[in-house]
């Protein structure tokens, strides 16, 4: 095989890895962005749903593998795509009515502090339940196996994650552009008073947006867990990364979250080649630069 071919294959694999990473952080940060853009709530605790998704995903997958015959093959995927989202929506509903409701309309800095409190609180709960354990649930990744690219092999599961995320992104785009509820949500971000006077139940839309975001973060966790093992505290790392994504892309924008996560994914993956230890430093420097130069982010200014 020629050098150029190996080079291309190397870069292709790197591209897929970068897309995989982008997928996960897109699913996390898009919800963070929605909740900020549409509910005016800067929710640090958003990543707690990622954490819950990781642990619930691992638990459900481990249960599903023990099912008889064909169910043990399909089960893990049902657990990821349906089981975890359903559980997260249930938990999210409880949280919405109890701990998130008092935060709407509060001053932003107080929201940041209160949701930081929620992060620690839920981190504490997860620590009580799953603390000290190293959960792993590699079944979905094992079931799909690997595909040969040139001389090297590549896990199909990574491609599956990228595919699911692309579908989610398309679905979200269609939802906000084409459906009534989606348009209402956008209108609510623009002018809640007018939406309210048009006889639309704003409160219900609030709940919907929060649950949708929680669901996406939970899905990200469930998709993430087969490729790595989970321990408590892992979701904390994602708080700052997902802030970087939505700040770079633009707070409150779907396109911004897509572009932001692609940019961060690319920087991180290729940064690992040139500056192995400091690839994330580049991400934060870019984030700081964006805030200074164009605080609305790449797409934030266009939509509002």
């Amino acid at each position: 095989m020629s050098n150029i071919e190996t080079l291309l294959i190397d870069q292709g694999i790197r591209l897929l890895n970068s897309l995989y990473y982008s997928s996960i952080i897109f699913l996390v940060s898009v919800g963070l962005s929605f909740v900020y853009g549409y509910l005016n709530l800067l929710n640090l605790a958003h990543v707690s749903f990622l954490g819950l998704g990781i642990f619930l995903g691992a638990e459900l997958i481990q249960q599903a593998v023990q099912l008889p015959s064909i169910l043990s093959t399909v089960g893990p995927f049902i657990a990821i795509l349906i089981g975890v989202p359903v559980l997260i929506v249930g938990i999210g509903t409880v949280f919405e009515f109890t701990i998130f409701k008092p935060l709407y309309g509060m001053e932003e800095t107080f929201q940041l502090l209160a949701t930081f409190g929620i992060v620690l609180m839920l981190e504490g709960v997860m620590n009580l339940i799953w603390g000290g354990e190293l959960l792993s649930a590699t079944a979905p990744s094992n079931i799909l196996g690997t595909v040969g690219i040139g001389t090297s092999t590549f896990p199909v599961y990574v491609i599956f994650v990228i595919g699911v995320t692309s579908l989610v992104a398309i679905g979200l785009y269609y939802f906000f552009e084409r459906t009534r509820l989606g348009r209402i949500t956008i209108a609510m971000a623009e002018n809640p008073e007018i939406v309210k006077t048009s006889g639309i139940n704003v409160r219900r839309t609030h709940i919907f947006v929060l649950l949708l975001s929680a669901l996406l973060a939970g899905l990200a966790g469930a998709l993430w867990v087969p490729n790595a093992s989970a321990s408590v505290g892992i979701s904390l790392d994602y708080i700052i990364i997902s802030f970087a994504v939505i700040v770079i892309g633009g707070l409150g924008s779907l396109k911004g979250a897509i572009v932001g996560s692609l940019v961060v994914g690319v920087i991180r993956t290729w940064g690992l080649v040139f500056l192995p230890a400091f690839s994330l430093v580049l991400v934060f420097l870019l984030m700081a630069t964006v805030v200074v130069v164009k605080p609305t982010g790449i797409y934030g200014g266009l939509e509002s």
């Binding site: 001053e107 409190g117 430093v281």
Partner: protein
């Protein structure tokens, strides 16, 4: 005191001075310092250590509150100053022969002034969330650079910090570690605490401090009456950063080691903010009370039910922010002043029609009232 005033003026000034000495703030602070100073005499190493930690985080929370309470800026990046100062002396111990306390703290202050001047200069272009996020991003850069740099900073293992010499005397060698901790280091911490409290108090009641409060209350108006708002926010960032840095040096000396996890992690910035909120960000001395409660609570819980610590920390932070944004000290103070004004009955009845106390009004204006 050059004798150019008349006797009556002299009397007045003595009277004023007496009055200010009887001022409950001064009394309270004096009592606090006296209690703090008596702690080493119990000869309980654990107790001295805890008291020193409280004093150190008292300094840190006071410094943090220059921004949060006085200027109205929430920062999620102050761990950078705390750890930055600690790492300055850590690196000096590691790579130079410098051991003098005065040189070490001088170098650390210099580094932190530079850091906070740069970080502040970038961050004060924005307020609110963007300020918080910018500080977070910049602090995170420092965290990553230090924690991933194994060759220079020993990575996540951190650096060892030896005992410094104080005016050329190595007290650990002369007295042993226990006596050094209880009678030298502890009193250095206490003296630093007093210096920081007194000078910050002077700063904050000077026109400078009042200007910051004007900016917090109404930046537009402050700008309109000719205050260079951004520049003052920048000054406040530097003052705040330096104070937190001084706390960082003391902490490094006390613990004897700096690691990225314990001194640079962004959750530390959140904990510092919690101390300020817990005590009362709209009061001067509140953050010290907050630091005290925080550390007593943490020490108690970590020794009895360590697994529950995060849960308790998080839920109490949440409850404080949502229900008592003026903090323990602020709530007590408005209760006391309500008792003065209206008697006990009205003071404990939240629906009393009394004139809202400045603190409460303040806290509400910080929280913002529009629910939809």
């Amino acid at each position: 005191m050059n004798g150019e005033y008349s006797p009556s003026e002299k009397e007045a000034s003595v009277g004023d001075r007496l009055k200010s000495m009887l001022n409950w703030r001064v009394t309270g602070f004096t009592v606090f310092v006296m209690i703090a100073a008596s702690i080493p005499y119990f000869q309980e190493r654990f107790l001295t250590f805890l008291a020193a930690e409280i004093l150190i985080f008292g300094i840190v929370a006071l410094g943090y509150n220059v921004l949060l309470g006085y200027t109205g800026l929430l920062s999620f990046g102050h761990a950078a100053f705390f750890g930055g100062a600690g790492y300055t002396i850590g690196l000096l111990f590691e790579y130079t022969e410098i051991q003098s306390f005065m040189i070490l703290i001088g170098a650390a202050i210099l580094v932190v002034v530079l850091m906070s001047a740069i970080m502040g200069f970038i961050s004060v272009r924005h307020t609110g969330v963007y300020y918080a996020l910018l500080m977070l991003a910049l602090a995170q850069v420092l965290y990553l650079v230090i924690s991933k740099n194994y060759t220079l900073t020993n990575g996540t293992d951190g650096l060892r910090i030896a005992a410094p010499t104080i005016f050329g005397v190595d007290y650990v060698e002369q007295l042993g570690y226990n006596l050094y901790l209880e009678f030298i280091l502890y009193f250095i911490v206490l003296a630093t605490f007093i210096i920081v409290v007194v000078s910050l108090y002077r700063f904050m009641s000077s026109p400078f401090g009042l200007t910051l409060q004007t900016i917090r209350e109404n930046p537009e108006r402050a700008k309109a009456i000719g205050i260079p708002v951004k520049r003052y926010r920048w000054y406040a960032s530097i003052l705040s950063g330096v104070t937190v840095g001084i706390g960082g040096v003391m902490y490094a000396l006390l613990i004897g080691r700096v690691t990225p996890g314990s001194t640079l992690n962004w959750t530390l910035s959140g904990e510092i903010a919690f101390m300020a909120i817990l005590g009362g960000p709209t009061t001067f001395f509140g953050p010290v009370i907050g630091a005290g409660i925080f550390l007593l609570l943490r020490t108690y819980i970590l020794s009895t039910a360590p697994d529950a610590w995060l849960l308790i920390l998080g839920s109490s932070l949440y409850l404080m922010v949502v229900f008592f944004p003026s903090g323990v000290y602020g709530a007590l103070r408005s209760l006391v002043s309500n008792i003065h004004k209206n008697g006990i009955k009205d003071a404990i009845n939240p629906n009393s029609k009394s004139e809202p106390d400045a603190e409460r009004a303040n806290a509400q204006s910080v929280r913002g009232g529009d629910q939809d």
